[in-house]
Symmetry: none
Subunit: 404 residues, 2 copies
Amino acid sequence: MKASIIAVGWEVLMGEVKNTNTDHISSKLRELGVETIFSAVVGDDLDEVSKIISFCVENSDVVFTTGGLGPTPDDLTREAVAKSLCIGLAENSQARQWVEGYFQKTGMSMPQINYVQAMLPDGSEPVWNSLGTAPGVYLEKSGKKIVLLPGPPREMVPMLDAILPRIASPTQKIYSRDFHVYGISEAAMAERIEGLLARKEKPLVAPYASLGHIRLRVWGEYKNEEEFGNALLETEAELKNKLSTHLFSDTIEVELGKILAGKKLTISCAESCTGGLVAKTITDVPGSSGYFMGGCVSYSNQAKVSALGVKPETLEAHGAVSEQTAIEMAEGCARVFGTDCAISTTGIAGPGGGTPDKPVGLVWMGFVWPGGSKTIKRVFGGSRDDVRTRTLMVVLFELAKELR
Amino acid sequence: MKASIIAVGWEVLMGEVKNTNTDHISSKLRELGVETIFSAVVGDDLDEVSKIISFCVENSDVVFTTGGLGPTPDDLTREAVAKSLCIGLAENSQARQWVEGYFQKTGMSMPQINYVQAMLPDGSEPVWNSLGTAPGVYLEKSGKKIVLLPGPPREMVPMLDAILPRIASPTQKIYSRDFHVYGISEAAMAERIEGLLARKEKPLVAPYASLGHIRLRVWGEYKNEEEFGNALLETEAELKNKLSTHLFSDTIEVELGKILAGKKLTISCAESCTGGLVAKTITDVPGSSGYFMGGCVSYSNQAKVSALGVKPETLEAHGAVSEQTAIEMAEGCARVFGTDCAISTTGIAGPGGGTPDKPVGLVWMGFVWPGGSKTIKRVFGGSRDDVRTRTLMVVLFELAKELR
């Protein structure tokens, strides 16, 4: 069963009111196994609202609208539905009673214009609204279900809960599990798991790439957690097989933390171009104080010498952005903080500071761990932020790879 | 002229990735006098994407899409456009050159599947993407303009700016200038500038509050920069008068950098609870290497002693989260890095680690500068992230206030 959700109102279309209704409805529908295929936002224009309603009714089984059920002339969702389905509008006595009752209860006199809220498209039923004057509308026509709800979330949410049993009774729910991929481009990953990404039967595998990190979502409709768990086994095995050391169950900072904690290892970091981003990300993880001892942001050459013990000769002979400086930074860092492992970064994040020999984006990374050490060189594209974020992803992945 | 905007991707439709693109495009179009009448979100399904494109092309003059321009099989916006307009797809040599160039520059080998990114609908031109592999697409057909942009905002935003002159040229434009407010709550600020916030004539003043920081946008429609500049004078004077030391022309990390550079002062920072966030934020500013010498993330007590020279007796008598430790961290930091100014943070970011005496959210901050020093204590509410971000805003503001 496929659903569309339409939010009506200039204030939503112009971004002045945040539309939380669409996400709420779509996640509630997902729990029922109903998939939302379109969501739209449209201003308070009769012609445009009725056009998008026609489109959604034609292309899906259930259509929800939010907003445009008030008493003022710009509230025209009821009229737009009637127009797009070529049916009339008539006063509904139950709806009229509710609107009148709302005013009686509050002791206010009812303005004449509120009667329009009882005018419903032919063949529809009103939906009880305990918190406002606008009744909702439920309508079935030619096998399609159409539900009109008011815009304010506090009114909409309980009305949605009341109407959902009319939409579907869930025998199946959508379950999902995320994996995380590092140290490989999206395209290179896609080549390795081409079959999984192209697969049409559940569980489906969907990638979402950001800088230096790809989230892979495995998902599908299942009866319960157990059925999903069983279905997941084979896909997970294939992912592990095809992506091997690039695949993680959680984000790399959490995974690295688990590895360090599991092996009772401590870590510190010495940062130049990342300027604190590596330490900040490691300490984003609650409980990181158990393995992260500290870090040094050695931005100046003097700091590299005084705080980390990088040799002045090294800086003079090879420069701050060099393999030799990177490894001395990592070694010095492990010594200063007394840690088992250390990470270092030194590079040119830009936008200034590049030379033909050492262009913007050049980064040297150093690593030490019990029984090993290495350096990695990369030239990253993109902005200052991009260079810093890509460096972050590489250093966390590369250390995790060695320790795993 | 009427526009529609379509965001393509399951991750957006399912609410997992926040769609900021639609609002951004619609506000940019509004500046040009182009009104957005529909916005839609659709999953990565060829049939559904092409249906909504057909609908939008039929009902508006300009159609923008974001997302679905990547190299993997679920990236099908190019194909969907071709399908909905009943035209073919062919390799565009310019686009091919760009995609190949992207890989050449980074020194990676180009996977075969990336060639699909050079397949454009017949009659279209590629749009240059400086930050990713996906070229955009610009197409005119039967008087309609269709623009395909990639999903990641960092790539989309500059590409949009480049293509907008092809869409419309305005006689009046929206001009705006942002101010930044720190060290005062949104409500307290609103009381001070009540009149400006309630004003109905241009330039309007709109606040946008985030953690510890309020952005004030002054804006209106003007013929040119000069007319706007004149209109701004009075508002700016009133803001300065009412908000005094809380008002800044740029974000606090940029403003602090300007102050330090202007006075030829250097800075370093010693972080415990912020774990590198202060150093990271100071070094977000290009050119910060001119005044930022380095930082120490002294997460463990041992690191506070060995790297910063905090006295073991101080830690024993008062604990790591204390006024005494905070000031010794700042003093030690200025000494180690040889800087004029230093900032320190020590606190309990949570979620664990709180005690009745020292609850989660308690933070001590220390400051030294030429001729002065101080400590500040705060108890912040919110999550681990919130406590860290609020601490960041306070330390940068409080040092800027002393140095200004």
